[in-house]
Symmetry: C2
Subunit: 199 residues, 2 copies
């Protein structure tokens, strides 16, 4: 998605340990017009999948997921990273380790909102080690529903997440695929493909 | 906002301790069309205020705030409830106690995204004791910016938040004002006004 890649090139900051900071439009400040375009792109890429519901995890996934759900005309559900007092029974959980935050969270949804047989599109802001996406796929399967796709805004293609998601057999669409953050520079996977003829 | 009040009457669940659970369209599952209408309503109510930026706090505020920002054509910023490793310097923080979750959080934003002199609209899903709204007003003032309004989706008018916000002199607009959750029933403030001629 060209407009997204340009935004990453212009505003993304590469931090040590291969962290890409996109706080100016996705993870802290949000660009609503870009979020809407991202939502429309997801809706377009998964339009043949007869999706019933969009699932994400708080907090940065909510913007893209909500805009995708709006475009598709279906509800969105966001998983909680820990239990709240108003969500006490009928829960489905999966353990997710965040390398960025160096902590484990229980990612949790209510059984009320993902039903048996529903076709669920999982959306998240980043795919790195794949922990969050795999946790959400696990929850969808626990509910007896069908993980019909994973839509990622920014994929760090040099980490394990992509392969781990593909190994589950679930279709993966990433709007920007980053092949390298070496030397403080963002290099996209498809640019390398153009230059080097591989990938 | 009639469509919101109908949704609350139809789908809201009154739990013990005057907790109103609206997990089917706002706090866990989100209704994207309703979120869009809520965003448009906020944009309309604050259209004279020359707002530069919308500020909310993760997670349930993100949907309404993003839709308001989209309608107004401005960026949205969501405060974090605890510090993440990719946000390390240049922070503004305020302490917020959540009665629902019975815990204190440090609500934090980066100085980069709320600038001196900017007119900021604060949006949140619930107003109860007013802790979150006051924390966000505090942060806006720390930044040297102007808290130009507080927009709330659901106000529990029988708790202290409304008065506490009004005491700061900041304009408050709540789309649904709940006067009572007694006997497991939702009663709106303006209904009581119609019936009883007071409030």
């Amino acid at each position: 998605m060209e407009i997204l890649k340009k935004k990453i090139q212009r505003e993304g900051k590469v931090l040590p340990n291969k962290v890409l900071k996109v706080d100016s439009f996705l993870n802290h400040q949000m660009d609503p017009v870009l979020m809407k375009e991202i939502g429309e792109e997801f809706a377009d890429r998964f339009k043949e999948e007869q999706i019933d519901k969009v699932l994400t995890v708080e907090s940065s996934g909510i913007g893209p997921a909500l805009m995708a759900a709006l475009t598709m005309g279906i509800p969105m559900v966001f998983a909680r990273k820990k239990k709240s007092l108003t969500l006490t029974e009928g829960l489905l959980s999966s353990k997710v380790y965040s390398y960025t935050k160096q902590e484990s969270n229980q990612v949790t949804i209510s059984k009320d909102f993902i039903k048996e047989g529903e076709r669920v599109l999982i959306i998240d802001d980043f795919l790195a080690n794949g922990q969050a996406a795999l946790g959400l796929i696990d929850i969808v399967q626990q509910a007896g529903a069908v993980p019909s796709g994973v839509g990622i805004v920014i994929e760090k293609s040099f980490q394990e997440g992509r392969n781990r998601v593909l190994e589950t057999g679930v279709r993966l669409e990433s709007l920007a695929r980053i092949q390298s953050l070496d030397d403080g520079k963002v290099r996209f996977a498809d640019e390398l493909m153009t230059i080097g003829g591989r990938l």
